[in-house]
């Protein structure tokens, strides 16, 4: 992590993220809901940074499959 946070507790237990299924969501009780442009655009930005811009899985450039 950079910059280093105030307090971090981490363990080796891990969870899988499935790009096709993963989403950022507003908590129902949050003061920000869909339509909050700062967070909506950040959700799109970070999804792109994490998994790329296109659909998941990305199509093979030649259309062929392994």
């Amino acid at each position: 992590l950079w910059p280093w946070p105030r307090s971090v507790q981490a363990s080796s237990r891990r969870y899988r993220l499935r790009p096709a299924a993963f989403a950022f969501r507003h908590h129902p009780g949050s003061a920000a809901q869909p339509g909050c442009d700062v967070l909506d655009s950040a959700f799109a930005r970070y999804r792109r940074l994490l998994f790329g811009a296109g659909p998941w899985p990305p199509p093979s450039p030649s259309g062929q499959r392994h």
Binding site: P5, S12, Y15, L17, A31, V38, L39, F43, Y46
Partner: protein
């Protein structure tokens, strides 16, 4: 077990506002069996948490994405964590500025100090005074920032939780203003004759203050941040000294030191800007020259050793009750061969003699990239990851100082920047798992 949703919750309403110096950026991030939750006081804190979340995700050799069970509580040490970019010595295309804002967000920097104009060029396309850019920019068609460009920068920054602090330095560093506003600058003399050269803004004419009132009325409405940076550094008195009208004005006012004349000008300017209900940041010379300023003025310490060391200067400014921004040790345009980031990392902004109240007046600092030797061809590798070193010093706890720990993480962070398409330079030997052609 899969995690398919990161739930984001913020406490305070306010999606259409601009970030401010006082904005809270704290967040907690909890990834465990029961939840995958990012909670923050404000949307600005949520942005910081999203960045942290993105850095926690890793990919296995087979290409599967994972995140470990993690609990993070985080908040910044300083509220002003800035990056100064000079777009006058060399023009930077709009895309370079926007790309820089992206990388600032990756580093949790939150103030873009836009040093828009200086001696060589005036790229800011003023609506009220279009001749400034028409006659003062490198090229009035291509090398300017239009009203739309400025608006785009401000919005792009807002969406990343970054304030835009615009600097219009006066009375010095203003040679590019001269062609667009005849009579604004002081005519220099050689003996009894005008030499044809011009010096700082002419402080003895009413027309100067009339112009400044109109110009800063526009600037105050274009830039939404409460603060403007008014410069005030490196005023060369040679030209003022040579001008007989200035000499007569000095005599009439009873000034025997040109610093008094500079103070006279700056006080008039500060009154103008204050009337528009803006606060201001000034370079340390304004304080050194004992200009009377408002108590809420922010003084930026940029000089390394003169008149005193930068830490002694911080001590003097805080003792006088003013807030401080530190940038003297963080001039990224100064480069040396090797790992020069370590000296920047070792700086402790509160390492001066002072009471807790005085230390609380240090509100942050800025990494500075002056433009003499930097344009869009080499800006990125010179900025990053070294700018991130300043970012960590300003965000992380005062106990986060271990150089080995920092080196490991910074190398890894540089690889993350490469993956995101940022041409960050290496900080030592090593390699990144992914070396992307597009970088």
């Amino acid at each position: 077990v899969s995690k398919d949703v990161l739930v984001v919750s913020v406490v305070t309403e306010g999606c259409n506002e601009f970030p401010m110096l006082e904005s809270l950026e704290n967040y907690t991030l909890t990834i465990d069996d029961d939840q995958c939750l990012l909670a923050a006081s404000t949307i600005w804190g949520a942005l910081r948490g999203l960045e942290t979340f993105s850095q926690l995700v890793w990919t296995s050799a087979e290409g599967t994405f994972f995140i470990n069970k993690t609990s993070i509580k985080d908040f910044p040490r300083f509220s002003h964590r800035g990056l100064l970019l000079d777009t006058s010595r060399h023009y930077l295309p709009l895309s370079s500025i926007l790309d820089t804002l992206d990388v600032m967000a990756y580093n949790k920097l939150n103030v873009f100090h836009w040093h828009l104009v200086d001696d060589p060029s005036f790229p800011y396309d003023s609506i009220t005074f279009p001749e400034l850019a028409r006659k003062g920019s490198y090229n009035p068609v291509t090398h300017i920032y239009t009203a739309q460009d400025v608006k785009e920068v401000i919005e792009y920054a807002r969406l990343r939780g970054i304030r835009v602090l615009a600097e219009f330095d006066t009375p010095g560093h203003t040679l590019s203003w001269g062609p667009g506003v005849p009579g604004l600058l002081t005519p220099c003399y050689s003996g009894t004759q005008p030499s044809g050269d011009f010096g700082p803004v002419n402080p003895i004419l009413n027309s100067t203050y009339k112009f400044m009132s109109s110009f800063f009325l526009e600037i105050s409405s274009v830039f939404p941040d409460f603060y403007l940076h008014l410069g005030g550094d490196e005023v060369d008195f040679t030209c003022w000294r040579s001008n007989p009208d200035i000499q007569a004005f000095m005599k009439k006012k009873g000034f025997d030191d040109f610093r008094q004349l500079e103070s006279f000008y700056i006080q008039m300017l500060l009154d103008i800007v204050s009337a528009y209900e803006k606060g201001y940041v000034v370079w340390q010379e304004v304080f050194d020259n004992k200009v009377k300023v408002r108590p809420d003025t922010i003084v930026q310490v940029w000089r390394d050793k003169k008149p005193v060391t930068y830490m002694e200067e911080v001590e003097l400014v805080t003792k006088a009750g003013f807030r401080v921004l530190l940038s003297a040790p963080w001039y990224l345009n100064h480069i040396t061969y090797g790992a020069d980031w370590k000296d920047m990392y070792k700086v402790e902004p509160l390492d001066f003699e002072g009471s807790p109240e005085e230390k609380a007046l240090v509100i942050g600092g800025e990494a500075c990239m002056w433009g003499e030797w930097v344009d869009s061809t080499n800006l990125v590798p010179r900025l990053w990851p070294r700018g991130g070193v300043v970012a960590e010093r300003l965000w992380s706890s005062n106990l986060t100082t271990n150089l080995d720990f920092a080196e490991t993480r910074l190398s890894h962070f540089r690889c993350l920047l490469l993956r995101r398409g940022v041409q960050a330079e290496p900080i030592g030997v090593g390699y990144c798992e992914q070396e992307f052609e597009e970088t």
